[in-house]
């Protein structure tokens, strides 16, 4: 039950992040090839909820 609860909370958290992303929208970036590390893109999304 505890585990179930935990995964329920996790799922809720995930859906919150997803809806935050939808609410915050996106930024459309036009960079050189191989010039933006994926980890940095992911960090930006995690901090702002925005997608590329």
């Amino acid at each position: 039950m505890k585990n179930l609860l935990k995964s329920g909370v996790a799922a809720l958290a995930l859906s919150t992040v997803a809806s935050a992303a939808a609410a915050e929208g996106k930024v459309v970036v036009y960079p050189w090839f191989e010039y933006m590390p994926q980890e940095l893109v992911d960090k930006f999304t995690a901090e702002t909820g925005m997608r590329w």
Binding site: E24, G25, K26, V27, V28, V29, Y30, P31, W32, F33, E34, Y35, M36, P37, E39, L40, K43, F44, E47, T48, M50, W52
Partner: protein, 293 residues
Amino acid sequence: MIDTYDSNEAMLASLKAGGMGTYDVAVPGDYMVKIMAGAGLLDTMAEGELANKGNIAAEWADPNFDPGRQHSIPYQWGSTSFAVNRDVYTGDINNTDILFNPPAELQGKINVLDSQGEVMALAALHMDIPQCSTDRDQLKALNAMLLGAKANWVSFNSDTAKEVLVSGDAAAGMIYDGFSAKAREEGANVEYAFPTQGYIAWMDNVVLLNDAPNRENALKFMDFLLVPENVAQLTNWTRYAAGVEGVAPLLDEALRTLPEANPHEGAGQAVFIDACDEEVQAVYDTIWTNLKK
């Protein structure tokens, strides 16, 4: 999947050919920021719109290509010259002859960047003529020199510039300093040259495009790219250099002594690419198009 480009000129052409209104930000080099601003492609950021603008390093806060940083923020800076595989050639490499008048060991084994501004500027340094020269004799000589040099080149490519050095498909190649460092770190026995005639210095910048579909978000993204921790993460990955204060203590120890970022004493000057005026640019476009045929 995001769109990318492999040269400043390719990016400009795609934006002019209908790309405006699609993207929020792009990452042009110094001279291209000036050209884009002149062409009316860049939006202006009012004072106070970027919360982290004060983080821009003093030496990059008011560049001649974007006075007052009205349209752009620093992304990364570095240099462009060429790298040589030392298993193939052991002689002196600090001379632009390596690209334009190569020794026998390197003939037919040279990759050149598919990047008009950089090739033209390095060729001008090689010939000791001014960039954007309008002198007919100098232009004729430049054109002839490039066509002659091309006979010794195996490929024109930017996005595989590192891979061809690592694979050995090219024994020498025009390349950016960080890319050359990555080639070396991936096992290629390459040395980055600092030619006595000089080499290219550049700064890439994030610009706010006119008609940006998500202008507010673009500003947040630019602010994100002015936070020292984020810029350090970027710089440790690119192996170039940052234009933001507070980044240095967060960089990999190896970056401090990177051979590709530390010119030797005999190195020529690092020279930024000039933005030619439109009429002159058309002449250089013709030379370039002809060279690429």
